[in-house]
């Protein structure tokens, strides 16, 4: 396999980064067709997954960001769906003096859009309803283990990119992103991907639910935020149930 492996290594280097000498490799044709297609396909894939980031940066800046990202993190997954999995971290890691730096908030916007991509085709699961919880009886509610539906993500942001996302979604000029930490819950209700910026106390307990906390745990965590946490915990529980964002741990619900 030595000859084939060496040939393919040369081809890959020439096509993806222009490194190497094609002499003796090709008998005819144009390697540039492959080089163009490689870059164009990856750019198209990230455009599809990050439309708000592209809109916020502009097409040229976004293309430069993608070029830098792909050079730093060549695609490793068989599916283009996973191409952007490290984009947010890549953007976070850029030095502001880097030519492809897109601004300190760009990583957070990529993070929010990435969460939406992952939730879009995440595992199917029936959401719990008020009736499901009521059927358990009052005594069981305190020990009720909670969990977000599997197709969900709790996304911690340092910048107000949720507001940038919403403005762009509405076709409005995006406000400047400001440094203002917040937590966004992304989930899928039926086939629709939704996200909502959580209230501060809700944001505090969201990671606990992601870790499998019980309703009593949620009440305990809310003590820091409310004098009487039980009514607030109940209100949040109803909010989450009505949003179809919650499931109950098995075996209570399949």
């Amino acid at each position: 396999m030595a000859d084939l492996a060496a040939l393919q290594a040369r081809f890959l280097a020439l096509v993806t980064s222009g490194r190497g000498d094609p002499r003796g490799l090709v008998a005819g044709g144009e390697l540039g067709v492959y080089a163009y297609a490689y870059g164009a396909r990856l750019l198209d894939a990230l455009r599809a997954d990050h439309p708000k980031l592209e809109a916020a940066l502009g097409a040229d800046r976004f293309a430069a960001v993608v070029e830098g990202y792909v050079a730093a993190q060549p695609p490793r997954s068989f599916t283009l769906r996973d191409l952007g999995v490290d984009l947010a971290a890549h953007l976070d890691s850029l030095d502001p003096r880097d030519a492809t730096d897109a601004g300190p908030w760009a990583g957070d916007l990529a993070r929010l859009e990435r969460a939406r991509v992952e939730v879009f085709d995440g595992p199917d699961h029936a959401a719990a309803t008020r009736d499901d919880v009521a059927a358990l009886g009052p005594a069981a509610i305190a020990a009720l283990p909670l969990a977000w539906v599997p197709a969900s993500a709790v996304v911690s942001l340092r910048w107000s990119v949720d507001e940038v996302w919403s403005a762009l979604e509405d076709g409005a000029p995006p406000p400047p992103a400001i440094a203002d930490p917040r937590v966004v819950l992304v989930w899928r209700r039926d086939l629709e991907v939704i996200h909502r910026t959580l209230d501060p106390d809700e944001a505090a307990v969201a990671p606990l639910i992601a870790a499998g906390a019980t309703f009593a745990d949620v009440c305990g965590a809310l003590v820091e935020h409310a004098d009487d946490p039980a009514p607030r915990a109940l209100a949040l529980l109803v909010r989450w149930l009505d949003a179809a964002a919650l499931r109950l741990h098995p075996p209570e619900l399949p």
Partner: protein, 275 residues
Amino acid sequence: MSLAPRLGFGLGLRPPHYADALAGAPAVDWWEVISENFLVAGGNPRRVLREVRARWPVVLHGVSLSIGSAEPIDRGYLDRLAALVDEVEPALVSDHLCWTALGGHQSHDLWPLPYTEEALRLVVAKVGQVQDRLRRRILLENPSSYVTFAASTLGEAEFLAEVARRADCGILLDVNNVFVSATNHGWDARAYLAAIPVERVAQLHLAGHSRRDRWLVDTHDHAVCPEVWTLYAEACARFPGVATMIERDDHLPPLAELIAELDVARATAAEVRGG
């Protein structure tokens, strides 16, 4: 399985057409879907696939098997594909005579092989592994190509035919790819068809292409061109009754327009059949 089930005339199912495909009764005998788009946990893609499969035969067409890479098959990918095959029970499973990854670097493109005895042995061995895992024959599709390699000692059609014979797999003959590669490299497209063993061809592809400088590129963004329709008629004469579908991935027209184009394929095949 039958090597060439008589499926009729199909289309590639793409997300913008999901709703129209499921809402009505489009005149499509079967659908081809890109396997990788459905190797996901759930959500709308899997729902659509379930509903489509309940009403039509489905063919799984992959782009990431990388059968020609000088390294082992990605077992993780193959396991996921096998699970999808078990669930969907597709009429056919196909991928491309190409390589798409090396050393973990994925190209997301269909890169050409040098047509050498070394590459032939590798592809034959890997097709055998895939067919053993999937417990069925697969089809390999001839790619469009934009370079030829100095190392090649065989013609592409000869190489593909020999892979099919030695590995006991089928061939998905892409008529547009034959035309594109033949034009780019100065091959004789009719001689290419003549070199493909009739009994191995289980599916035909049609598609449009575009021009980039002096090269034809398999972009799937136009209607099938007259020259490819002419070559398709010759393919119908050589491979009668073989399932045909049209691929369209960019500049997607309404579904009705693609169905009208599929009617041209039906009429062409019928005309050839009627003599």
